[in-house]
Each structure stands twice: as structure tokens, then as C-alpha cells.
């Protein structure tokens, strides 16, 4: 259990998908203009990462690996299968949410399909493979990574809301400033790298 909490903390803070690996930057920069929309997208990312990570783990270990049901090394199909799982999961989640909670669907609405091409999701699955996690660890890694991404997008959205009132050079306004801010936040997050999660 302690091991799982370690992985959660590590993936949320020390190896933050957004601010340490800079994954999912497209939607991170495009959807962080207000805190409200950033909140919706962040929640959806936690949800999809938490679901796709265990499914991709099962696929990787029982379908693609040499000890799986086909007894052959099919890892060259990994990318295609992972992205197919992510795309179909997002589509499925969209349909389920639409059916059971129309109000949540309306607030997430356009962000759900966007998640398919959020590289934090596919990147998370690929990191999971390269780090050789077991099933429960991959669940924890998925949830932790999603939570870290959620924190990061909320933080930048809040800063961007405030910086509207500052005197920024015209050519730097908007996108340019968002890049600079993300760089500074990345620097700040690097100081978390010294944390030893096993101390908790």
C-alpha cells in the first residue's frame, strides 16, 4: 500500500506529466484561459488516464507480450492498440456520461473528444510500459499522473486570469506570455525533484 502511495505522489508532483515532461501541452495552453474550463478538462483527464492505464496494462501484458495468449512478441502493434483503446475509451466515456449525467456532459462537452489527442494520455501509457509497473502500480500511476496534470492546468489558468490586468508588451500578450509562465512553473516544479517519496 505504501508503495502505491509513493507512486501516486511521485507521478503527481515529482514527475509531473505537464510540468516535468511537458506532455499534453497543446490542450494545456489552449484551454487554460479560464479556471472553470481548465477544471473541467483536468477532471476529464484524471478520469481517462485512470481508466486507460489499467486497460493498456492488461493489453500489453496479456495480448502483446511473449508470455501472453498468442505466445509471440507483438510489441510492434503497441502504438496502434494503445491509441485505439484510448480513442474508444474516450468515445465510450462520452456516451456514458451523456446518458447518465447530462449536466456533467454539458460542462465537459467539447473537452472530452480533445482528450484523445492529449499526449499526456498516450505518454502515460508508454511510460508505464517503460517503467515496468504491475497492475495496481499502473492504476496508481494513472490516477497520480492525472491529478498532477489537473493541478498544473488549474494553476496556470489562475495565473493567466490574473495576468490579464498586467502591462505585458503587445506582441507577448496571450500565447507568448503563457509559454514564459509555463517555463517558470516548470523551473519551480524542478525544485520538487529533491523529494524522497519513501520518506512519507
Amino acid at each position: 500500500m505504501g508503495e502505491l502511495i509513493n507512486i501516486f505522489i511521485k507521478s503527481a508532483f515529482i514527475e509531473n506529466l505537464a510540468l516535468s515532461y511537458f506532455l499534453g501541452m497543446c490542450s494545456y495552453l489552449a484551454v487554460s484561459k479560464t479556471v472553470k474550463t481548465a477544471f473541467g478538462l483536468g477532471l476529464a483527464v484524471i478520469f481517462v488516464l485512470g481508466i486507460t492505464m489499467p486497460i493498456n496494462w492488461l493489453i500489453n501484458n496479456y495480448l502483446l507480450s511473449e508470455s501472453g495468449i498468442f505466445q509471440t512478441d507483438l510489441t510492434f502493434l503497441r502504438l496502434i492498440l494503445f491509441i485505439a483503446v484510448i480513442a474508444s475509451m474516450v468515445q465510450l466515456v462520452e456516451m456514458v456520461v451523456e446518458k447518465f449525467s447530462p449536466s456533467l456532459y454539458n460542462s465537459l462537452g467539447i473537452f472530452l473528444p480533445l482528450i484523445t489527442v492529449n499526449c499526456a494520455i498516450l505518454g502515460g501509457s508508454l511510460f508505464m510500459v517503460s517503467k515496468e509497473y504491475n497492475f495496481m502500480e499502473s492504476v496508481s500511476f494513472g490516477l497520480g499522473g492525472g491529478f498532477g496534470w489537473f493541478l498544473a492546468i488549474i494553476a496556470i489558468a489562475a495565473i493567466r486570469e490574473k495576468i490579464k490586468y498586467s502591462q505585458v508588451p503587445p506582441a507577448l500578450r496571450g500565447l507568448g506570455m503563457a509559454f514564459m509562465l509555463t517555463g517558470l512553473m516548470g523551473l519551480a516544479f524542478m525544485s520538487l525533484m529533491g523529494i524522497d517519496p519513501s520518506a512519507f
Binding site: S20, Y21, F22, L23, G24, M25, C26, L29, A30, F76, L77, L79, I80, I83, A84, A87, S88, Q91, P113, T116, V117, N118, C119, I121, L122, G123, L126, F127, S130, P169, P170, A171, L172, R173, G174, L175, G176, M177, F179, M180, T182, G183, L184, G186, L187, M190
Partner: protein, 231 residues
């Protein structure tokens, strides 16, 4: 008669003003990185060296070109409800080709680029151009659009990599140009170089890519004021 001529003109494989515009627009006023904000993740991760950036740029040009062409050729046969999955499978197939080719031809680059080759699939440039252009235009034009956007992305990638490798490691394409390494410090005969320069380690870290791209956007918008955010 006139309509038939127009239609023939549109479908013909020529190279006129419209075609040139498809190729040059993404280099300036419609640049995928600095204007459309697409494909940032890989732009940050692979730009520590010119060599990796060049490999990545070529890979992306290949994928955008062929995915645009194939999707455009199939655009009338793809049902709308499953178009995302079909597009992703086209892209994933092309990326797998690139990945296996790199593994065979340039294993060093393959190892250094690691997951980021796989992440071309979710590079929003590819998907974004499919949705925005290839689903509505013919294969030849889509191919040109793919090349233009791939090259526009590659140029930014190389610019960022140039700054980061030169100031971070004092090298370009792995060849020592400026700065001090221990052996250079001992060798007092090489006074021609900028031996006094000490490498800026910040440039090797991820956040510096953010600063460099931010500065590029700043310069680009100062030079082309029509792109400035009004809000």
C-alpha cells in the same frame, strides 16, 4: 462548360499560386507552433540537440504528408461517427513505419527520442491538419498542406534546438564550437574559440525550451503585428 473548366482546373495537378500558398503559409502567418499552437510537446522534448530535432522534423514531415494524402483520398468513404478512430489508425500505422525504420537505420537517435517518436501520433499537428484540411480537400492539395505544415514545424524545432544546443552544450550537431570542456581548458594553444564561455546548463533543461519558444513567438508577432492577440 465554364463550370466544367473550373472543376478541371481545381482537380488538376499543377503548381500555381494557390498551391504555393499552401506551402508557404505555414512558414509564417499560419505557423503550426507559433500561431496554431499545435505540436508543442515534442517541440520541447527533442530540441536539446540539432541532430534529434532534424530526425524528428523529417519524421513529422513524412507523417503529415502521407496521413493528409491518405485521409483525403478516403474522406468520402469514412463514416463521420468513427472518423477519429480511422484517422488515428492511419496515423499510427505511419508512425509505426517511422519507428521501425529509425530502429533499423539510426538506432542512436531512436533510443534518444524514445517515447517521443510514438507521441507523433498524438502530435496535434497531424490530427489538426487532418480535421481542418484533409477532410475537405483533394489528395494533392492535402499533400502540399501536409508538407508545408511539417516544414513549418520543423523550422521552429531547428531554431529552438540551435539556441539550446549552442548555449547549453557549446555544440552544433555534436561538433564543439564554443565554450570550455576540461580538455579545452588545459589546451592553451586553442585561443581562436570562445573558450571563456561557460555552458549554460539551464538551456539543457525543459523549461528553457518554453522560454525560447516564447521569445520566438514574441519576435514573430513583433515582426508580423497582424498576429497579436487583441483580447
Amino acid at each position: 462548360m465554364a463550370q466544367a473548366q473550373v472543376a478541371a482546373k481545381q482537380s488538376s495537378i499543377g503548381f500555381g499560386k494557390a498551391e504555393r500558398k499552401l506551402l508557404t503559409d505555414p512558414l509564417d502567418s499560419n505557423n503550426p507552433v507559433t500561431v496554431q499552437v499545435l505540436g508543442i510537446c515534442s517541440a520541447l522534448a527533442v530540441t536539446t540537440g540539432m541532430k534529434n530535432a532534424l530526425v524528428m522534423a523529417i519524421a513529422v514531415v513524412f507523417v503529415t504528408m502521407f496521413s493528409n494524402m491518405i485521409t483525403s483520398a478516403l474522406r468520402n468513404a469514412i463514416p463521420k461517427a468513427v472518423r477519429m478512430i480511422v484517422q488515428l489508425i492511419i496515423i499510427a500505422t505511419l508512425v509505426t513505419i517511422v519507428e521501425l525504420t529509425l530502429k533499423a537505420v539510426a538506432f542512436d537517435s531512436y533510443k534518444q527520442l524514445s517515447v517521443f517518436i510514438g507521441l507523433i501520433i498524438t502530435n496535434c499537428i497531424v490530427m489538426g491538419r487532418l480535421e481542418a484540411f484533409a477532410m475537405a480537400n483533394g489528395p494533392y492539395k492535402s499533400m502540399l498542406d501536409g508538407i508545408g505544415n511539417g516544414v513549418g514545424y520543423g523550422i521552429i524545432l531547428l531554431m529552438v534546438a540551435f539556441v539550446r544546443e549552442l548555449f547549453g552544450k557549446g555544440e552544433l550537431f555534436g561538433a564543439k564550437l564554443i565554450g570550455n570542456t576540461p580538455e579545452y581548458l588545459l589546451d592553451t594553444t586553442t585561443t581562436w574559440g570562445l573558450g571563456w564561455y561557460s555552458n549554460n546548463n539551464l538551456m539543457v533543461l525543459f523549461p528553457s525550451a518554453m522560454f525560447v519558444i516564447g521569445a520566438i513567438i514574441w519576435a514573430h508577432r513583433a515582426w508580423n503585428p497582424s498576429l497579436v492577440d487583441v483580447s
